[in-house]
Amino acid sequence: MAGKSGRSINNVPEAPIKKMILSWEGILVVLFILINIFCASFSEFYNLSSLLRQMPIYLAEVFLMLPMAYILVLGEIDISVGSIVCLSATMSCIVCNTGAPFIIVVLTGLLVGTLCGLVNGVILTKFQELPPMIVTLATQIIFRGIAEIVLGSGGSISATNTDGFRLLGGKVGSVPYILFLVIILAVVFAVVLGKSTFGRRVYAIGTNRLTAYYSGIHVQKIRLIIYTVMGTMAGLCSLFLISTSYGANTTTGNGFEMDAIAMAVFGGISSTGGKGNLAGGIISAFIIVCLRVGLGQKNVHAQVILLILGVLLIAAVALPNIVGQVKRVVKK
């Protein structure tokens, strides 16, 4: 072009190794190892086989963390997922108790979850000005309300035909199916978010929605897809929950949304959108799972475990700020 300076712009990326070690994910890996050493020295029962045996209950929540990471990257939040888990667990149990084939039960769980997610997505994309926090707060109440009405006065339901769920809770050797599924889905979700066109667009929307829109990205379509998938994954989560407890009640899935958000945020995914990746989210999910199993074995109170997790979370969120301040002081 005329008047061109002939300036050359570098397009060779830096070697990633140094970056990786100093990144938040690097710290998390170290933390993961430390937590395991800590748990092993703390509890004499803590070893790989006990870990594998007790993991499934906690792993179900990882299903929620995966799509929740997408929603957080969008800069949004979905606090209705716990209720979706409750509703789809309830419906699956009811269908199961009619004697329907297990595949129908599975489809029911997934379908109910998907529909709930779709409701969230449709509301949020049709009325774009509504804050996701408030909309999903409303649907949280509605979904759980429906579940409670269906459950009736007893407030709980047991799956009478547990064969299918037993199968779902099965193992290959000593490794539970759920671990395989979590790993497969984690890889899929991580690759889509980190490497795919879709993922790039999610980051674009989360960082600057207007620019994304002007750049020809179907912002609302992508939001709708993510909220719907969130629902589907909540349905999947509910099925594995039943496979450990063989039933559902009004408190099923209580607080799951917060656990999922905590795992993601602890993994470095910012709730303001556009930052973090699923590698961090997945490592942090496993840190939390291991910590819960380890502390649980030593009969540490559930409330105390929550307390520890809370402190960890605040530390994780505050750490970048603290590091920044320390750097500034050192420089001065």
Partner: protein
């Protein structure tokens, strides 16, 4: 030409030295009076000497100086990144300079923070007023120094006082109006009233006309004149030469964090100033190539949107640059937003290459070959925290992805090529867009449009807030796009830009097209006449 460029960059290195020498004598005089123990009487209300401000890694100001005479309007000019804003922040106490001294009426002062500067009678009005949109005008004016009696805000007194100030400025709104309902020009007026309410003796106006229309600028000129009459000294920062000629008596130029010189406005030419600011000569600011327009690319017929614009019709041919001008609020941006599917038109038709198209979203417009480069680079054009490469390829990533997975190698290569095509001044494609100057950011926005085959490129105020050197480069790119056969719609409020670049000029007023002028017949006066045909715009467009 390249050699020439290098040659010219050399001269100024000697230039500031020479000026520093002459000013050294003033420095000596100053010292003597101070030492003499008399009441310091200074020729200047404000004087800064040897100011150096260092940010981590960069010298934002390097030994700069500045003198402000009482009651003068002093323009401060320089390219983006020359250090003007940092300098202003040193004066207003926001930043503390590492080296240098500041004198106020001959007395040495040392501001600890913005409060000190305010107390000393220095007030700054910024380009984008930093106000509280949900509070009233009076509350904004008296924010921080409310009129209080017995711990109660005296609303009546405050509103009356605010109205008095507004009346002095000839404002056409009341002190009880909510700030957010005012236009940018009116909000600036409030900021000026705020400065007056603190009895400021030195008012700094930081690019006040950048967001104003011509009419509103005229109004601002009037206010500045009035302040000057009242003995207020004014520092005026602007990229517009006409502002400087109209208002200032002296102009100081900064370049690359350094002081270049202070000149009397009488007797300085555009060419001199540009040379001082850019460090080289710009031969042709508007390199408009002669292109014979090809076939019609885009035609708009009777496009209407209630409350915004009505019955707008025009066409653009291949290789043609059509200027779309008018006052801000005339409905220019709204029309092109409807063409691109951002807002929906109520009636009317849009034809692309003779075929009627129905576009509901920007993505559809881009698929069909129409792209809008929005006015607000930071909010709509770029993702500021992202690397340049990713910004450039954002609209097209799916085109070279394999099974939905990004092909990052191809992407990097394409980004490099596109960014080099528009001659972006960048080190690598990974640096964030926020690290570039406004002009270079605009080039990245243009590069985004080039990442795919486009037919119609719509540029909304492409040189807003861009310095003169980068402006010329953007015009050059625009000319090349026209040569390549793109149909270009250029929306602009800047008269020289429209006159210099457009083949045809469409003027809008209050949501209506009021005229169309060819390049040959267009003059500044004719455009202005058409732009104000139906009386003053109320800023809200057609009813």
């Amino acid at each position: 030409m390249q050699k020439n460029g290098k040659y010219f960059t050399r001269i100024p290195k000697i230039f500031p030295f020479f000026l520093l020498g002459t000013n050294g004598t003033i420095y000596m005089n100053q010292k003597r009076t101070a030492k003499g123990g008399e009441k310091a009487v200074s020729e200047y209300v404000l004087e800064l000497k040897g100011i150096t401000k260092i940010f981590p890694g960069v010298k934002a100001l390097n030994n700069v100086q500045f003198q402000l005479k009482p009651g003068e309007v002093h323009a401060l000019m320089g390219e983006n990144g020359a250090g003007k804003s940092t300098f202003i922040k040193v004066i207003t106490g926001v930043h503390k300079a590492e080296e240098g001294e500041m004198f106020l009426n001959g007395q040495k002062v040392d501001f600890k923070g913005p409060k000190d500067a305010q107390a000393a009678g220095i007030a700054a009005v910024y380009q984008h007023p930093t106000s509280y949109p949900h509070l009233t005008v009076a509350e904004n004016i008296f924010m921080g120094h409310e009129i209080i009696k017995n711990h109660m805000i005296q609303w009546k007194a405050m509103n009356a006082e605010a109205n008095k100030l507004l009346k002095e400025l000839n404002a056409d709104f009341d002190a009880t109006a909510e700030m957010g309902t005012l236009s940018v020009a009116q909000q600036q007026m409030v900021e000026i009233a705020k400065a007056l309410s603190t009895n400021a003796k030195i008012v700094i106006l930081d690019e006040p006309t950048a967001a104003l229309t011509r009419r509103e600028s005229e109004e601002l000129y009037r206010i500045v004149d009035k302040l000057k009459e009242e003995g207020v000294s004014i520092i005026f920062i602007s990229h517009r030469f006409e502002d400087m000629y109209r208002l200032a008596s002296r102009v100081t130029v900064f370049r690359d964090s350094q002081y270049i010189g202070t000149y009397d406005v009488d007797g300085i030419t555009n060419a001199d100033l540009i040379k001082a600011m850019v460090g080289r000569e710009i031969k042709d600011l508007f390199p408009k190539p002669e292109v014979k327009p090809g076939k019609e690319m885009l035609r708009v017929e009777d496009l209407s949107r209630v409350g915004f614009y009505k019955n707008v019709s025009f066409n653009v041919r291949a290789g043609e640059i059509v200027g779309l001008t008018g006052l801000v609020g005339a409905g220019r941006t709204e029309v092109v937003e409807s063409i691109c599917g951002i807002t929906k038109a109520d009636s009317g038709k849009v034809y692309l290459e003779g075929k009627e198209v129905y576009i509901k979203q920007p993505s559809e417009a881009m698929d069909k070959g129409i792209i809008l480069l929005p006015e607000d680079r930071q909010k709509e054009g770029l993702i500021m925290s992202w690397g340049l490469g990713r910004n450039v390829t954002l609209p097209t990533i799916s085109k070279y992805a394999k099974n939905g997975i990004n092909d990052e190698k191809t992407e990097r290569e394409l980004a490099k090529k596109l960014l080099e095509d528009v001659d972006t001044k960048a080190v690598d494609i990974f640096q964030p867009a926020s690290s570039l100057s406004g002009g270079n950011q605009q080039k990245v926005v243009v590069a985004k449009a080039l990442s795919q085959e486009m037919k119609v490129v719509i540029m909304d105020e492409p040189t807003k807030g861009v310095d003169v050197g980068a402006k010329a480069e953007i015009y050059a790119i625009m000319g090349e796009l026209a040569l390549k056969g793109y149909a270009i719609i250029l929306i602009s409020s800047e008269m020289p830009e429209i006159l210099g670049m457009a083949d045809r000029i469409i003027v809008m007023c209050n949501g209506r097209k009021t005229g169309e002028l060819s390049r040959q017949e267009a003059t500044q006066e004719k455009i202005l006449e058409l732009a104000m045909e139906k009386g003053p715009s109320n800023g809200k467009g057609a009813k």
